[in-house]
């Protein structure tokens, strides 16, 4: 069972920046692109667990701060020659409030 959870106002996530959301199954990185789209991905790079939230956001991608892998924010897929995928979490913005969809035990 999945429910929608409020996390913060859209303005609380810096443009081309990120915020971290704590959940029962580790941290989720919330990204806001230059075009005001919001994405949520696990804050853990499949390469060596780098914190993706600390990377550089460009277009709809983020570059991992540790070794520079690039991931699509939409699909979580590694771009270019690297192989890997980060789990994405459904996210929506309603009346300026960012909401993510979590299952009961993840949210805890």
């Amino acid at each position: 069972m999945a429910d929608w959870y409020e996390v913060c106002g859209l303005e609380d996530v810096p443009l081309r920046g990120s915020r971290i959301v704590k959940t029962g199954e580790g941290c989720i990185a919330l990204f806001r692109t230059a075009d005001n789209d919001v994405f949520a991905l696990d804050d853990k790079c499949p390469h060596k667990q780098g914190p993706l939230s600390q990377g550089i956001v460009h277009d709809r991608s983020v570059t991992c701060p540790l070794h520079g892998w690039v991931f699509s924010l939409e699909t979580g897929q590694a771009q270019g020659a690297d192989i890997g995928q980060v789990k994405t979490t459904p996210v929506r913005v309603i009346d300026g409030v960012v909401q993510i969809q979590l299952t009961e035990n993840t949210a805890a």
Partner: protein, 817 residues
Amino acid sequence: MTKEKLVVIGNGMAPGKVLETLLEEAPDRYDIIIFNAETRVNYNRIMLSPVLTGESEFEEIVIHGDGWYIENNITLYKGHKIVEIDKTAKTVTSEHGVVQAYDKLVIATGSYPFIIPVPGHKLAGVLTFRDLDDVHAMMLAARRGGKAVVIGGGLLGLEAAAGLQIQGMDVTVLHLMPTLMERQLDESAGYLLEKELQSRGINIITKANTKEILGETKVEGVLLDDGTVLDATIVIMAVGIRPNLHLAKDSGFATERGILVDETMQTSDPDVFSVGECIQFDNRTYGLVAPLYDQAKVLGKKLAGKPTDPFVHSESATKLKVTGVNLFSAGDFASGDDRQEIVLRDAAKGVYKRLILQDDKIIGVVLYGETADGPWFYQMLKEGEDISEMRDSLIFGAAYAGGGGSDPLALVAGMSDGAEICGCNGVDKGTIVNAITKDGLCTLEEVRACTKASASCGSCSGLVEQLLALTLGDSFDASAVKPICGCSDLGHQDVRRMILSQELKSIPAIMQALEWKTSCGCAKCRPALNYYLVCAWPDEYVDDGFSRFINERVHANIQKDGTYSVIPRMWGGVTTPSELRAIADVADKFEISIVKVTGGQRIDLLGVKKEDLTAVWADLNDAGMVSGHAYAKGLRTVKTCVGTDWCRVATQDSTGLGIQLEKAMWGAWAPHKLKLAVSGCPRNCSESTCKDIGVICIDSGYELHFGGAAGMHIQGTQVLCTVGTEAEVKEHIFALTQMYREQADYLDRIYKWADKVGYDYIRSVIVEDAGARKAYSDKFLFSQTFMQDDPWKERVDGKEAHHFGAPLIPKKIAETV
């Protein structure tokens, strides 16, 4: 034995080449003395146009810096105009009264801009376009905005107009003839050019006859024959040049329109020669560099006493140096009964090509919009090649004629060895290919340095690269022009130039103006652009944290487990008990996993959680410590040794000097990390000889080093120079740092940059040119006034708090899906 005295009047491009040839052939034959009316060294006059647009700096267009004259034992009198030549006594006299005897004399007085003697031509604000002073006058006028009227729609007038427009002026070009550049372009090409310039906002009036320049004391407007009045704050006269023959004429030499010379450049006096735009040969005078260099080589060899071919006239090709306008013309393009033409147009692409043929030979070429085949046509024109065999496909260019399909290399492959690649410096294909194979050259820069090909106006750079590709095959890596990243086709240097010339002051502005292919860049270009903007506009640009790598964004080094390391500055590696106590307290309070002495003479606190960073900094700040920028592409450490205070063999206060340097330079962003060291004597205990910039103290002063590295790449430094005082050390180091900051590609350390531009070139600016050194040093200090706020304190005080926001906790809402 005393040497013969060779005196040269004028120090322009032509005599510069004469001397290069002479020194190559017979380095020790003469005592050489040059008198130049201009107060500067020899520079590339044709590059004044990009200086005016801001695409080049004067330093970049110097051909022979002061060091060159010293090295070659040449006396250069700057700002000395010669007012008299006494042929009988064999002396020249300068306007300051210097009398110099000669055995051989070269007159190279060039030409001067013609000024139409209409009423008002002497008003303040009537300018010409000939030397650096003119460029400065135009740039100064442009700073106040306003309107410029350029009289003359030829090469010089249009380059001036384009430059002034880029500098922000409202520009009108007045041209007497119905189409622009009518001496080089036919009507169609002239029309395309006019349309292009007008679409850039340059107003063009053809068939315009200037009647009067209006104004009381300074220019206020221009009145045309037909009664039109144009407002103007400056007027540029670019209606043509006249050979500067007065000195020769008044001194009794044979002159007509120019100084008469024979095919060995000898004047009517057997010991006196003349080259350049001041001469008249075979009833012709000259206004482009290529034939002047031919003359210069003839004279250089002759003066060296070597056999030489006579100078012969040959057709010159013309290009317009306005960025984004491609045109090429050569030869004679008037129509005639005995002539045929081949024309190709592509309106959508704005391409127009026309060849003029006579007796199955090309006698004229006009290309607009697409000019890659220009040199190929030009070569056939010069060699008088019979084109009847390939006539049908000729206009489509070398790629088709050679049967090479659309392979761009077919063009250069099809050229003969004698084909001229670089018109400015007269370098042919054979010479370049030979240099590539013999000297093992691999990059455009190396070919430039070694052969001079593409070293002047640069328009043949593409051809030279194709030659590299052709000669080296797959091993040629066009890294010289590698785009900054996949988001753009432009290289780092192009981007840097455009930021300045187009005054681009934000990342979005750069991406828009330079047509970035992605909407907001990538992790490669964004940090580079952010740095270029910080460097270009230190007082205006607001740093964009989101374009910085995480370390620079949060002013700490990220570790493999996502924690951070914190390294405070320890000036020159010197600390105090109270600082150490504060570091110990911080380590205890925040349960810091490990305290380590770094390789850079300071202490690292590792394993700090991101949410603790601001609190850690607050405590360190309270004890008087600031960020050590251990994360920065910028000034890192200045290592020192104990110096005269303690060491029994030290020669200077190396510790004190290191601390002074670190205090003056901390906070400076740079293309890459910048590490310094000061050692108290040549035993070199602070390892100065493997730092980006190193100082080794010696009895008589300080030996300055640069270009070292000891990371993945180990490289000893080279000596920059030796100076006597601490003040000089600082000025040299600040200047070198600023030159590096302004010129290097992002992520090139000093040694990489120096490998690209040449260690000697850097020395020639920083050591030999006191003016340039002072200017760079001043710019560095100016920039530093905006950089020395401790980033830790700023963030403790709340700056960019969003980078340190606490983790969010999700809150369930009513709706269930």
